[in-house]
Amino acid sequence: MKRFTLYIIMALAGLTLYAINPQRQIIGNFDRSASNHYAYPYGSDVDVPELTAAPAGYEPFYIDHYGRHGSRWLTNGKTYSRPINELTRAKEAGMLNLQGQRLLTALSLVNEFSQKRVGDLSDIGAEQHRQIAGRMFKNFPEVFKGDARVDARSTVIIRCILSMQNETMKLRTLNPALRITTDASYHDMYYMGWGYGEDTLANSLRKTMDPISNGMYERCLHPERFVAQLVNDTAWAAANMDCRQLMRDVFDVVGSLQGHHDFEDINLYSYFSSDEIFELWRLKNIYWYIHWANAPQNGNRMPFIERALLRDMIEKADHAVATGEHGASLRFGHETCVLPLACLMELDNVNYSCDNLDELHLYWQDYNTIPKACNIQMIFYRPVGTAGNNANNILVKVLLNEHEAQLPVKAVGGPYYRWSDLRQYYERKLATIIDWNVK
């Protein structure tokens, strides 16, 4: 009996560990609350996860990759300008207090810098990719030795192309003999980017998620304290300003500042209490979950928008295994692809399915999956000295944002899996029939 109790205690302890405390994680680092604007966490090679050594007798020979562009300017100029318009109206009405005027000044500065830059890759975004490429090269030198072939492709969006450029440039400095080709073409968009291929079928389904997300904001986000600190008259503000939208816009701008060296010295989190920061993140986390992940609310269908991408990864891996040629396939795109792809591939717990959105944050955190420059690297291993064209001998490990991920099949040992097992698992899953109609 004692033993049984002990088991139960251990099991409970395990559960508590699994249900990590995101509130503590966010208070420890407010930047995480920016969700998809969270800068890639290993900005300067600090705290990079340790990797397990290759299995005895094996060496890596091929990398199949999909990565998101690095930190960028916000894509909608209104997010910068709308809060300025709101605060300016208050100012003109004589309702903006000193604190509010300071915020207005800071936002105006950011807005000025953002002119004609919306959506552009930032300086920090460029650095993220150089560092990721540098570590990829360092971790898997066998893949990039000699005249290895690197097939790099990007969506047609400029920040993705420049992200690619920063990675390939870094690789070339490390080995000038690499045979690198780059491309960014509508030709490949059916698997490279959202808004094409099967994703277009999911548009109306995603739209049905909007009321759920918006309703949560209405219900849970209370902007009163936030606005009260900015104005002389809260009654005036309540009657004349869209306070909730103001709070959300300012929070988006504040969270995006971490993407720019120019704003390193500007910290505007102090306009928000830690509870507000947590709540704003929690609501955004729900948005990302129901719109782009394996949520029961979307019928657990959304991961399948990346079917063509996973097929492309499998095809290129097949080709690499069959030819035995070493090298890499690098793809550059968006978090709206990385997230459903990570779900489809069932990396770690990203594919988590959760009915109760009020508890979602305990088990699923967007900042772990879709920071800027987030990436999935499938590393293929073959027995040393072989050409690699026996598919049954190939092992694979998958890195999600450079940490070793758990996969949905039985491991051979540690983070290593038999490619034939994984491939079969994915092939079966890819054959799932999805009805994209909204009932």
Binding site: Q115, R117, A126, I161, M164, Q165, N166, T168, L174, T182
Partner: protein, 432 residues
């Protein structure tokens, strides 16, 4: 009198010789007639004249066009294809006509989803240019040197930039390279000048008349169709078909897959010359410094020329030991008016006489794919006299400025010439 006659004869001979130059060039290599579709050369670059004693290169100011690409408009592939298909349906194609149709189908298929994109050869052109830039001026690219690269927001230009900077990075990993492609720089990278647009539009009829007068599609139709009255009746616009087919033909040199395909036999030497001549007039009206457009059109690149001057000023006065290079990537529709505005190689030639234009002003010598202007700056320890070597497509070029150190120029003279020239037209807006 005799003297007058002999002078006249000399002049006439000279004129004949001038046009004969163009015709001979095309006879020797019809690919040159592809004009702005011409592939950038891969060899034959002349050696750079050594700088005067004690001078070392320290900065490069550059604007380059994207490399070889697919045609931008689908209709350039499809229009001649559809016209030939009419012949095919009615059994009116010659054997060569059928072959040409089959080739067009293949090229058109390959172009799907690729319109306007950089080609494989285009990428290689930039790798080569960067490698030679580095080899010619290694001092510019020493450890820690800044390379500030900017592109227009068009993908083929961004990938062209990417191919150049990647090679530079591989040649010296300790360069400090940044890249950008943003609306924020478009006011000088590819300025939309409404004044120039209106001036050009005013001369569109004149250019069209050149087309009607110079281009005769009869010979081409004979090579493609067995029945000339059928061809006459069923082809909506034979001149258009000829121009488009020649563009597709000229652009074969942009792709490894098609560089061996030669369709020039469908055209006579006169055809090749005439279509180019029309294109040449078209580009002159669109970019040249002609009284027909109030000598104003090339000023559309005023912002870009000012950007050249500003970056040079910074490189020279900042005290930066390694200011490196300002690399800009864009379009031939920028390179050409910029050349004219600078007066590079006499491209600021002014005339209203389009009939004789091709004797004095020839675009195929200016803007192949990947065409580029490099201003290379040299300095000497203990001297403030900065020298500048202008290169057009990696060949030493001339400017309308006096110099005692040719092919080098005293930068201060060139700078004064540019500032003076820029001030001769009303202020060009830099509104972002």
């Amino acid at each position: 009198m005799r003297r007058i006659i002999s002078v006249l004869t000399l002049v006439l001979v000279g004129v004949v010789a001038l046009t004969a130059g163009v015709r001979d060039d095309f006879k020797a290599n019809p690919k040159l007639s592809a004009n702005n579709y011409q592939a950038y050369p891969v060899s034959g670059f002349p050696a750079i004249t050594a700088a005067p004693e004690g001078y070392e290169p320290f900065f490069i100011n550059h604007y380059g066009r994207h490399g070889s690409r697919w045609l931008i408009q689908d209709t350039k592939y499809t229009y001649p294809l559809q016209m030939l298909e009419k012949g095919e349906r009615n059994g009116k194609l010659t054997r060569r006509g059928q072959e040409v149709l089959n080739i067009l189908r293949e090229v058109h298929d390959a172009s799907q989803g690729r319109l306007g994109e950089l080609s494989d050869i285009g990428a290689e052109q930039h790798q080569g240019i960067a490698r030679r830039m580095y080899q010619n001026f290694p001092q510019v690219f020493k450890d820690g040197a800044s390379v500030v690269a900017r592109s227009t927001i068009v993908i083929r230009c961004i990938l062209s930039m990417q191919n150049e900077v990647d090679v530079l990075a591989s040649l010296n990993p300790r360069l400090n390279i940044s890249t950008d492609a943003s609306e924020a720089t478009m006011f000088y990278m590819n300025y939309r000048d409404s004044v120039a647009r209106a001036l050009r539009a005013g001369q569109a009829d004149l250019v069209d008349r050149c087309k009607e007068k110079w281009i005769n599609p009869k010979g081409m139709l004979k090579k493609l169709f067995t029945d000339q009255s059928f061809a006459r009746d069923s082809i909506d616009d034979a001149r258009k078909m000829m121009i488009y087919l020649m563009e597709v033909t000229g652009n074969m040199q942009s792709h490894h897959q098609f560089e061996g395909v030669n369709l020039y036999d469908v055209f006579s030497n006169d055809d090749i010359y005439s279509v180019w001549r029309y294109n040449n007039a078209f580009w002159y009206i669109n970019s040249g410094e002609t009284p027909l457009t109030q000598c104003r059109v090339d000023y559309m690149e005023a912002n870009l020329l000012r950007n050249f001057i500003e970056d040079a000023d910074r490189a020279i006065t900042s005290g930066d030991p390694a200011p490196g290079a300002s690399l800009r990537f864009g379009h031939e529709s920028v390179v050409l008016p910029l050349c004219c505005l600078m007066g590079l190689n006499g491209t600021d030639y002014r005339t209203t006489d389009l009939e004789n234009l091709d004797k004095y002003w020839q675009t195929y010598k200016i803007f192949p794919m990947a065409a580029n202007i490099q201003f290379v700056y040299f300095r000497k320890a203990g001297s403030d006299d900065i020298l500048m070597l202008p290169l057009l497509n990696e060949r030493e070029a001339t400017l309308p400025v006096k110099t005692d150190v040719a092919p080098y120029y005293h930068w201060i003279d060139v700078r004064d010439y540019f500032i003076d020239k820029l001030s001769r037209q009303p202020f060009i807006t830099t509104t972002k």
